[in-house]
Symmetry: C2
Subunit: 331 residues, 2 copies
Amino acid sequence: MVQAWHLVSRPEGTLTMENVELRDVPLPPLAEGQIHVRNHWLSVDPITRLRMRGDYQGAQPPFALGEPIGGVATGVVVESRSPLFSPGDRVKHQLGWRDEAVGAAELFGKLPDIDMPEQYFMHYMGVVGLTAWSGLVKVAEARAGDVAFISAAGGGVGSAAVQIAKILGLRVIGSAGGAEKCAFVRSIGADAVIDYKAPGGMEEKLRQVAPEGIDVYLDNVGGDHLDAALGLANTHARFAISGTVGNYDNGEAATLRNFSRVVGQNIRLQGYIAPREYGADMLAFQHQMAEWIASGRISICESVFEGLERTPEAFISIFTGSIAGKILVRL
Amino acid sequence: MVQAWHLVSRPEGTLTMENVELRDVPLPPLAEGQIHVRNHWLSVDPITRLRMRGDYQGAQPPFALGEPIGGVATGVVVESRSPLFSPGDRVKHQLGWRDEAVGAAELFGKLPDIDMPEQYFMHYMGVVGLTAWSGLVKVAEARAGDVAFISAAGGGVGSAAVQIAKILGLRVIGSAGGAEKCAFVRSIGADAVIDYKAPGGMEEKLRQVAPEGIDVYLDNVGGDHLDAALGLANTHARFAISGTVGNYDNGEAATLRNFSRVVGQNIRLQGYIAPREYGADMLAFQHQMAEWIASGRISICESVFEGLERTPEAFISIFTGSIAGKILVRL
């Protein structure tokens, strides 16, 4: 039986189990030009929370009530009526929180012919890795010797960024919540770690570990992290802003006490959505990342939930924030 | 008798006449390497308010209590004991709110040999013009067809930016306070003008005149203007942030409801201090600007206060904001 998670009501604040329902769905016979995929892995990502808002305006539409929840997944083609795919092909798609998927061949992308486990293409070998790499190299133009501050350094993008920044020759300061996650961030090479859950203000904590200021900031949380980074930014600091997980649940305003330093320090803040801006660099990046992983210079950090039924739990854990590394669901 | 304005107490909020005093100052005999200048024109600028704060940290030091107030002035050399200057040379300096100045030749800059009235070199032909031009061309990389939103369009930087943007082929929306100033902004070529003092929210006002969104924003006020610009920014919009006059008096935090659009729209915010970043372009810019002025493509907008004793009044009028164009004092 094919099953898919559906959105039955719109969450206020954090998603709850009342907002979603696992339902049986029909599997129609394959039409000409379609393929049938068995999913092996699902990715849970903050963007999904945005699409649960009825008024979301973005590259992808909001989810309709009573309809299946989309999201990134990988799997294998089991049946094909398209000349583009053959049974056995490894594919990635966005048809989401379900165990099998049927759709037009154009909705699926073949994984590149690089010898890496398929779920890696949903994090370090995919958009997550590209976001970390392009944020550092393309957006923030990080150079050896720079001091980089990386928010949510225990997460998917953050943990990739910490490791890439060390390879590039930067001094790296990461933030994470709780002793365990901080220890993890130090274990992957960060020179200093800030526990944002510990008592005290972010700006003071950052000043203690970066008395010389910061040159690069990778932001995917916003709020007090961004304000602290503005407070410690050196002249010509570059901020790469890839998302504000902290604001996804509540849509609150950014209050930035240090914003006026943007002028005096000639700071650049650049928002980016990596696959849209740097999609053309993806394959070259994937080959580079595969080499870093194969040679042991980059360690993979995955936290895996087992079974389709645990998908909402895995998703909620992004926001409650105690789990290190990329969060995945294995079917 | 030589006179200079002195800072006698630090203002809270807007400067008042209690904070300053016009005092006689001695004119020492000229030492070797010094020159003596008779000022013709004084410029009043927001940066002076920042330097009145005891804790100001910037490229220039804060003013000491009981000491003369610095600022930009132009005049003519009346006596020289330096090989660098001869009597009759036109010069610019930062010795401020006084009728005559004596100092080391290094403190003075000779005006370039371009046939324009000397006070123009304190606005359109100087840092004010360079800030407008470099903000549009270098920082925001404005292109013909872009829609530009220009804050404080009735002021020095803003009125220069409106006219330069029209020459570059942009659609231009300016903001100004009050019907008179708005009429002025329209008279220098803006396609639409927003009266920020009229009832209603800035974002809604901007949406009405820019339903297609904005591509370029020149910010020197911050606050609700910046938030409105974020709310209407198109994908890849570029913001050039040259100062936050609105915050100079009170140092308050920026509250930006629309900040999360930085990510989704790939917006770039770049702070800059034009003479520091683009000083090397100054002479080329001055020749270009002189050509625009001489050919009538750019109109000069000056508001002149007569006499040294009116300098504080001229300065305060920057912040109370009812006067159009660059504000100057003629001695």
